[in-house]
Symmetry: C2
Subunit: 184 residues, 2 copies
Protein backbone atom coordinates (compact mmCIF):
# COMPACT_ATOMS: atom_id res chain seq x y z
CA UNK A 1 0.00 0.00 0.00
CA UNK A 2 1.32 3.43 -0.87
CA UNK A 3 0.15 7.00 -0.91
CA UNK A 4 -0.66 8.21 -4.40
CA UNK A 5 0.46 11.64 -5.47
CA UNK A 6 -2.70 13.71 -5.80
CA UNK A 7 -1.76 14.69 -9.36
CA UNK A 8 -2.27 11.03 -10.29
CA UNK A 9 -5.40 10.36 -8.21
CA UNK A 10 -7.85 10.49 -11.10
CA UNK A 11 -5.93 7.68 -12.79
CA UNK A 12 -7.44 5.40 -10.18
CA UNK A 13 -10.88 6.09 -11.70
CA UNK A 14 -10.25 6.64 -15.44
CA UNK A 15 -11.26 3.08 -16.29
CA UNK A 16 -14.70 3.40 -14.69
CA UNK A 17 -14.62 0.89 -11.82
CA UNK A 18 -17.50 0.30 -9.42
CA UNK A 19 -16.87 1.72 -5.95
CA UNK A 20 -17.75 1.21 -2.33
CA UNK A 21 -18.61 4.54 -0.73
CA UNK A 22 -18.00 4.82 2.98
CA UNK A 23 -19.19 7.62 5.22
CA UNK A 24 -19.30 8.47 8.91
CA UNK A 25 -20.74 11.18 11.12
CA UNK A 26 -20.86 11.21 14.90
CA UNK A 27 -21.01 7.57 15.91
CA UNK A 28 -22.81 6.50 12.72
CA UNK A 29 -21.12 4.97 9.69
CA UNK A 30 -22.27 3.39 6.47
CA UNK A 31 -21.12 1.69 3.28
CA UNK A 32 -22.84 1.37 -0.09
CA UNK A 33 -21.99 0.29 -3.63
CA UNK A 34 -21.84 3.07 -6.24
CA UNK A 35 -21.22 2.62 -9.95
CA UNK A 36 -21.87 6.22 -10.99
CA UNK A 37 -18.58 7.71 -9.85
CA UNK A 38 -16.39 9.62 -12.32
CA UNK A 39 -13.22 11.68 -12.48
CA UNK A 40 -13.86 15.40 -12.99
CA UNK A 41 -10.50 17.21 -12.86
CA UNK A 42 -6.77 16.57 -12.48
CA UNK A 43 -5.31 19.24 -10.19
CA UNK A 44 -6.61 19.50 -7.62
CA UNK A 45 -8.24 16.14 -8.33
CA UNK A 46 -12.01 16.17 -8.29
CA UNK A 47 -14.72 13.58 -8.81
CA UNK A 48 -18.46 13.42 -9.33
CA UNK A 49 -20.67 10.91 -7.54
CA UNK A 50 -24.40 10.26 -7.95
CA UNK A 51 -26.04 9.48 -4.61
CA UNK A 52 -29.79 9.00 -4.32
CA UNK A 53 -31.51 11.37 -1.90
CA UNK A 54 -33.03 8.50 0.07
CA UNK A 55 -29.73 6.85 0.99
CA UNK A 56 -28.23 6.80 4.45
CA UNK A 57 -24.85 7.49 2.84
CA UNK A 58 -26.11 10.83 1.56
CA UNK A 59 -27.35 11.83 5.00
CA UNK A 60 -23.96 11.05 6.55
CA UNK A 61 -21.81 12.56 3.79
CA UNK A 62 -23.85 15.77 3.77
CA UNK A 63 -23.62 16.07 7.56
CA UNK A 64 -19.88 15.34 7.69
CA UNK A 65 -18.83 16.96 4.40
CA UNK A 66 -16.48 14.09 3.56
CA UNK A 67 -16.63 10.49 2.34
CA UNK A 68 -14.33 7.81 0.97
CA UNK A 69 -14.30 5.98 -2.35
CA UNK A 70 -12.94 2.45 -1.93
CA UNK A 71 -12.21 0.37 -5.05
CA UNK A 72 -13.17 -3.25 -4.45
CA UNK A 73 -11.69 -6.13 -6.42
CA UNK A 74 -12.86 -9.47 -7.79
CA UNK A 75 -12.35 -11.32 -4.53
CA UNK A 76 -14.79 -8.92 -2.80
CA UNK A 77 -17.66 -9.36 -5.25
CA UNK A 78 -20.01 -10.95 -2.72
CA UNK A 79 -19.38 -8.10 -0.29
CA UNK A 80 -20.22 -5.55 -2.98
CA UNK A 81 -23.50 -7.31 -3.73
CA UNK A 82 -24.44 -7.50 -0.05
CA UNK A 83 -23.81 -3.85 0.81
CA UNK A 84 -25.57 -2.79 -2.38
CA UNK A 85 -28.77 -4.62 -1.51
CA UNK A 86 -29.75 -3.21 1.88
CA UNK A 87 -29.89 0.22 3.51
CA UNK A 88 -27.90 0.92 6.63
CA UNK A 89 -31.11 2.38 8.04
CA UNK A 90 -32.63 -1.08 8.05
CA UNK A 91 -30.11 -2.40 10.55
CA UNK A 92 -31.20 -0.79 13.84
CA UNK A 93 -28.68 -1.21 16.62
CA UNK A 94 -25.90 -2.28 14.30
CA UNK A 95 -24.46 -1.35 10.88
CA UNK A 96 -23.37 -3.06 7.68
CA UNK A 97 -19.74 -3.26 8.84
CA UNK A 98 -20.72 -5.33 11.86
CA UNK A 99 -23.46 -7.25 10.05
CA UNK A 100 -21.13 -8.42 7.28
CA UNK A 101 -17.86 -8.50 9.28
CA UNK A 102 -16.29 -5.85 7.06
CA UNK A 103 -12.78 -5.04 8.21
CA UNK A 104 -11.70 -1.40 8.02
CA UNK A 105 -8.78 0.87 8.81
CA UNK A 106 -8.57 4.57 9.59
CA UNK A 107 -8.44 7.14 6.80
CA UNK A 108 -5.67 9.71 6.88
CA UNK A 109 -7.76 12.89 6.85
CA UNK A 110 -11.43 12.01 7.25
CA UNK A 111 -13.71 10.09 9.58
CA UNK A 112 -15.10 7.60 7.04
CA UNK A 113 -13.55 4.13 7.49
CA UNK A 114 -11.54 2.60 4.65
CA UNK A 115 -12.32 -0.99 3.63
CA UNK A 116 -9.55 -3.57 3.97
CA UNK A 117 -8.65 -5.69 0.94
CA UNK A 118 -9.83 -3.06 -1.50
CA UNK A 119 -7.15 -1.98 -3.99
CA UNK A 120 -7.46 1.81 -3.81
CA UNK A 121 -8.91 4.45 -1.52
CA UNK A 122 -9.74 8.09 -2.23
CA UNK A 123 -10.61 10.44 0.63
CA UNK A 124 -12.99 13.10 -0.60
CA UNK A 125 -14.30 16.45 0.60
CA UNK A 126 -17.68 17.57 -0.74
CA UNK A 127 -17.67 20.85 -2.69
CA UNK A 128 -21.20 22.13 -1.98
CA UNK A 129 -23.21 22.62 -5.18
CA UNK A 130 -26.77 22.76 -3.91
CA UNK A 131 -28.47 23.13 -7.27
CA UNK A 132 -27.09 19.97 -8.88
CA UNK A 133 -27.38 18.03 -5.62
CA UNK A 134 -31.08 18.90 -5.48
CA UNK A 135 -31.76 18.58 -9.21
CA UNK A 136 -29.72 15.51 -10.12
CA UNK A 137 -28.45 13.85 -6.90
CA UNK A 138 -25.04 14.83 -8.32
CA UNK A 139 -22.17 15.71 -5.99
CA UNK A 140 -18.80 17.27 -6.72
CA UNK A 141 -15.91 16.46 -4.38
CA UNK A 142 -12.19 17.13 -4.14
CA UNK A 143 -9.86 14.20 -3.54
CA UNK A 144 -7.69 15.18 -0.57
CA UNK A 145 -5.80 11.90 -0.04
CA UNK A 146 -5.35 8.72 -2.05
CA UNK A 147 -3.76 5.33 -1.53
CA UNK A 148 -3.46 2.19 -3.62
CA UNK A 149 -2.27 -1.40 -3.45
CA UNK A 150 1.18 -1.34 -5.04
CA UNK A 151 0.78 -4.91 -6.28
CA UNK A 152 -1.63 -3.62 -8.94
CA UNK A 153 -1.08 0.16 -9.10
CA UNK A 154 2.45 1.41 -9.59
CA UNK A 155 4.31 3.92 -11.75
CA UNK A 156 0.99 5.77 -11.93
CA UNK A 157 -0.84 2.91 -13.67
CA UNK A 158 -3.07 -0.05 -12.98
CA UNK A 159 -1.23 -3.24 -13.93
CA UNK A 160 -3.24 -6.34 -13.05
CA UNK A 161 -1.19 -9.01 -14.84
CA UNK A 162 -0.62 -11.93 -12.48
CA UNK A 163 -3.22 -10.64 -10.01
CA UNK A 164 -6.58 -11.73 -11.37
CA UNK A 165 -8.15 -11.72 -7.88
CA UNK A 166 -7.19 -8.07 -7.47
CA UNK A 167 -8.75 -6.81 -10.69
CA UNK A 168 -11.24 -4.02 -10.15
CA UNK A 169 -14.89 -4.59 -11.10
CA UNK A 170 -17.46 -2.87 -13.34
CA UNK A 171 -21.22 -3.03 -12.78
CA UNK A 172 -23.32 -4.23 -15.71
CA UNK A 173 -26.84 -4.31 -14.29
CA UNK A 174 -28.79 -6.07 -11.57
CA UNK A 175 -25.83 -7.27 -9.52
CA UNK A 176 -23.82 -8.59 -12.49
CA UNK A 177 -20.23 -7.43 -12.89
CA UNK A 178 -17.27 -7.63 -15.25
CA UNK A 179 -13.68 -7.76 -14.06
CA UNK A 180 -11.29 -5.23 -15.57
CA UNK A 181 -9.82 -7.11 -18.53
CA UNK A 182 -6.61 -7.39 -20.51
CA UNK A 183 -4.50 -4.49 -21.74
CA UNK A 184 -5.25 -3.60 -25.32
CA UNK B 1 -28.12 -3.33 -34.36
CA UNK B 2 -31.25 -2.50 -32.43
CA UNK B 3 -32.87 0.46 -30.76
CA UNK B 4 -32.51 0.32 -26.99
CA UNK B 5 -35.48 1.21 -24.83
CA UNK B 6 -34.60 4.49 -23.16
CA UNK B 7 -35.32 2.99 -19.72
CA UNK B 8 -32.28 0.76 -20.29
CA UNK B 9 -29.98 3.32 -21.88
CA UNK B 10 -27.83 3.91 -18.79
CA UNK B 11 -26.98 0.21 -18.76
CA UNK B 12 -24.79 0.92 -21.77
CA UNK B 13 -22.57 3.08 -19.53
CA UNK B 14 -22.75 1.46 -16.07
CA UNK B 15 -19.44 -0.35 -16.57
CA UNK B 16 -17.50 2.84 -17.27
CA UNK B 17 -16.34 2.44 -20.88
CA UNK B 18 -14.31 5.03 -22.77
CA UNK B 19 -16.33 6.87 -25.42
CA UNK B 20 -15.97 8.62 -28.73
CA UNK B 21 -17.92 11.86 -28.67
CA UNK B 22 -19.19 13.13 -32.01
CA UNK B 23 -20.66 16.54 -32.68
CA UNK B 24 -21.79 18.61 -35.64
CA UNK B 25 -23.01 22.15 -36.27
CA UNK B 26 -23.62 23.78 -39.64
CA UNK B 27 -21.18 22.08 -41.99
CA UNK B 28 -18.62 21.37 -39.26
CA UNK B 29 -18.24 18.06 -37.44
CA UNK B 30 -15.79 16.59 -34.98
CA UNK B 31 -14.88 13.49 -33.00
CA UNK B 32 -12.87 13.11 -29.80
CA UNK B 33 -12.13 10.44 -27.21
CA UNK B 34 -13.69 10.95 -23.75
CA UNK B 35 -13.18 8.76 -20.71
CA UNK B 36 -15.02 10.96 -18.23
CA UNK B 37 -18.56 10.08 -19.19
CA UNK B 38 -20.99 8.73 -16.59
CA UNK B 39 -24.62 7.74 -16.15
CA UNK B 40 -26.63 10.23 -14.08
CA UNK B 41 -30.27 9.10 -14.04
CA UNK B 42 -32.54 6.29 -15.29
CA UNK B 43 -35.80 7.86 -16.54
CA UNK B 44 -35.49 9.94 -18.51
CA UNK B 45 -31.91 8.73 -18.95
CA UNK B 46 -29.26 11.34 -18.30
CA UNK B 47 -25.49 11.41 -18.42
CA UNK B 48 -22.64 13.66 -17.37
CA UNK B 49 -19.66 14.38 -19.63
CA UNK B 50 -16.51 16.36 -18.88
CA UNK B 51 -15.39 18.38 -21.91
CA UNK B 52 -12.46 20.77 -21.73
CA UNK B 53 -13.28 24.36 -22.64
CA UNK B 54 -10.56 24.46 -25.30
CA UNK B 55 -11.94 21.57 -27.36
CA UNK B 56 -13.57 21.92 -30.76
CA UNK B 57 -16.16 19.37 -29.62
CA UNK B 58 -17.32 21.75 -26.90
CA UNK B 59 -17.73 24.58 -29.37
CA UNK B 60 -19.86 22.43 -31.67
CA UNK B 61 -21.95 20.76 -28.94
CA UNK B 62 -22.69 24.09 -27.28
CA UNK B 63 -23.71 25.63 -30.60
CA UNK B 64 -25.87 22.69 -31.67
CA UNK B 65 -27.17 21.63 -28.23
CA UNK B 66 -26.73 17.94 -29.03
CA UNK B 67 -23.94 15.37 -29.37
CA UNK B 68 -23.48 11.60 -29.61
CA UNK B 69 -21.69 9.14 -27.38
CA UNK B 70 -20.29 6.23 -29.42
CA UNK B 71 -18.86 3.22 -27.58
CA UNK B 72 -15.79 1.91 -29.42
CA UNK B 73 -14.52 -1.64 -29.07
CA UNK B 74 -11.17 -3.41 -28.99
CA UNK B 75 -10.84 -3.56 -32.77
CA UNK B 76 -11.04 0.26 -32.92
CA UNK B 77 -8.31 0.97 -30.40
CA UNK B 78 -5.97 2.64 -32.91
CA UNK B 79 -8.79 4.91 -34.07
CA UNK B 80 -9.48 5.95 -30.46
CA UNK B 81 -5.82 6.82 -29.94
CA UNK B 82 -5.67 8.83 -33.16
CA UNK B 83 -8.76 10.97 -32.57
CA UNK B 84 -7.69 11.53 -28.96
CA UNK B 85 -4.32 12.95 -29.94
CA UNK B 86 -5.19 15.85 -32.25
CA UNK B 87 -7.71 18.68 -32.30
CA UNK B 88 -10.15 19.00 -35.19
CA UNK B 89 -9.13 22.67 -35.28
CA UNK B 90 -5.66 21.60 -36.42
CA UNK B 91 -6.97 20.09 -39.66
CA UNK B 92 -7.85 23.15 -41.77
CA UNK B 93 -9.83 22.29 -44.89
CA UNK B 94 -10.67 18.79 -43.70
CA UNK B 95 -11.74 17.01 -40.49
CA UNK B 96 -10.81 13.92 -38.50
CA UNK B 97 -13.44 11.79 -40.23
CA UNK B 98 -11.84 12.43 -43.63
CA UNK B 99 -8.28 12.42 -42.29
CA UNK B 100 -8.65 8.99 -40.69
CA UNK B 101 -11.25 7.51 -43.08
CA UNK B 102 -13.79 7.14 -40.28
CA UNK B 103 -17.05 5.68 -41.60
CA UNK B 104 -20.26 7.07 -40.13
CA UNK B 105 -24.02 6.78 -40.43
CA UNK B 106 -26.83 9.19 -39.67
CA UNK B 107 -28.20 9.53 -36.16
CA UNK B 108 -31.95 9.23 -35.66
CA UNK B 109 -32.62 12.56 -33.97
CA UNK B 110 -29.50 14.71 -34.07
CA UNK B 111 -26.99 16.05 -36.55
CA UNK B 112 -23.85 14.46 -35.03
CA UNK B 113 -22.65 11.49 -37.10
CA UNK B 114 -22.52 8.03 -35.52
CA UNK B 115 -19.33 5.98 -35.92
CA UNK B 116 -19.60 2.66 -37.74
CA UNK B 117 -18.25 -0.48 -36.04
CA UNK B 118 -18.80 0.94 -32.56
CA UNK B 119 -21.01 -1.25 -30.35
CA UNK B 120 -23.42 1.34 -28.92
CA UNK B 121 -24.60 4.86 -29.68
CA UNK B 122 -26.39 7.34 -27.41
CA UNK B 123 -27.86 10.52 -28.90
CA UNK B 124 -27.80 13.27 -26.29
CA UNK B 125 -29.36 16.68 -25.77
CA UNK B 126 -27.52 19.13 -23.55
CA UNK B 127 -29.43 20.33 -20.48
CA UNK B 128 -27.93 23.78 -19.99
CA UNK B 129 -26.29 24.18 -16.56
CA UNK B 130 -24.08 27.21 -17.03
CA UNK B 131 -22.54 27.24 -13.56
CA UNK B 132 -21.09 23.72 -13.65
CA UNK B 133 -20.12 24.07 -17.31
CA UNK B 134 -18.12 27.18 -16.45
CA UNK B 135 -16.78 25.96 -13.11
CA UNK B 136 -15.96 22.32 -13.89
CA UNK B 137 -16.28 21.74 -17.66
CA UNK B 138 -19.12 19.44 -16.58
CA UNK B 139 -22.16 18.94 -18.82
CA UNK B 140 -25.50 17.30 -18.11
CA UNK B 141 -27.38 15.76 -21.03
CA UNK B 142 -30.52 13.73 -21.62
CA UNK B 143 -30.26 10.60 -23.75
CA UNK B 144 -32.99 10.91 -26.39
CA UNK B 145 -32.17 7.84 -28.52
CA UNK B 146 -29.95 4.79 -28.07
CA UNK B 147 -28.84 1.86 -30.20
CA UNK B 148 -26.55 -1.10 -29.63
CA UNK B 149 -24.94 -4.01 -31.46
CA UNK B 150 -27.16 -6.98 -30.59
CA UNK B 151 -24.23 -9.39 -30.86
CA UNK B 152 -22.95 -8.01 -27.54
CA UNK B 153 -25.90 -6.18 -25.96
CA UNK B 154 -29.16 -8.02 -25.61
CA UNK B 155 -31.82 -8.65 -22.97
CA UNK B 156 -30.72 -5.34 -21.49
CA UNK B 157 -27.15 -6.51 -20.77
CA UNK B 158 -23.68 -6.51 -22.21
CA UNK B 159 -22.62 -10.08 -22.97
CA UNK B 160 -19.23 -10.23 -24.65
CA UNK B 161 -18.56 -13.98 -24.52
CA UNK B 162 -17.36 -15.18 -27.90
CA UNK B 163 -16.83 -11.62 -29.15
CA UNK B 164 -13.46 -10.52 -27.79
CA UNK B 165 -12.96 -8.03 -30.64
CA UNK B 166 -16.22 -6.31 -29.69
CA UNK B 167 -15.41 -5.79 -26.03
CA UNK B 168 -15.66 -2.17 -24.94
CA UNK B 169 -12.52 -0.41 -23.70
CA UNK B 170 -11.50 1.50 -20.56
CA UNK B 171 -8.82 4.18 -20.47
CA UNK B 172 -6.01 3.72 -17.96
CA UNK B 173 -3.70 6.67 -18.66
CA UNK B 174 -1.59 8.04 -21.48
CA UNK B 175 -3.21 6.10 -24.31
CA UNK B 176 -3.22 2.72 -22.53
CA UNK B 177 -6.49 0.80 -22.30
CA UNK B 178 -8.04 -2.29 -20.78
CA UNK B 179 -10.70 -4.36 -22.52
CA UNK B 180 -13.86 -5.06 -20.56
CA UNK B 181 -13.10 -8.40 -18.92
CA UNK B 182 -14.85 -11.58 -17.79
CA UNK B 183 -18.11 -11.77 -15.90
CA UNK B 184 -17.56 -12.16 -12.19
Amino acid sequence: MANIDLSQATRLLNHGPTCLMTSAHGNQRNIMAAAWVCALDFTPPKVTVVIDSKTYTRELMKAEGTFAINLPCVQQIELVKKVGSISGRDLPGTDKFAEYSIQTFAAELIRAPLVKDCVAWLECKVIPEQHIEDSYDLFVAEVIAAQADTRVFNDGRWQFDGHDDLRTIHHVAGGAFFATGMSC
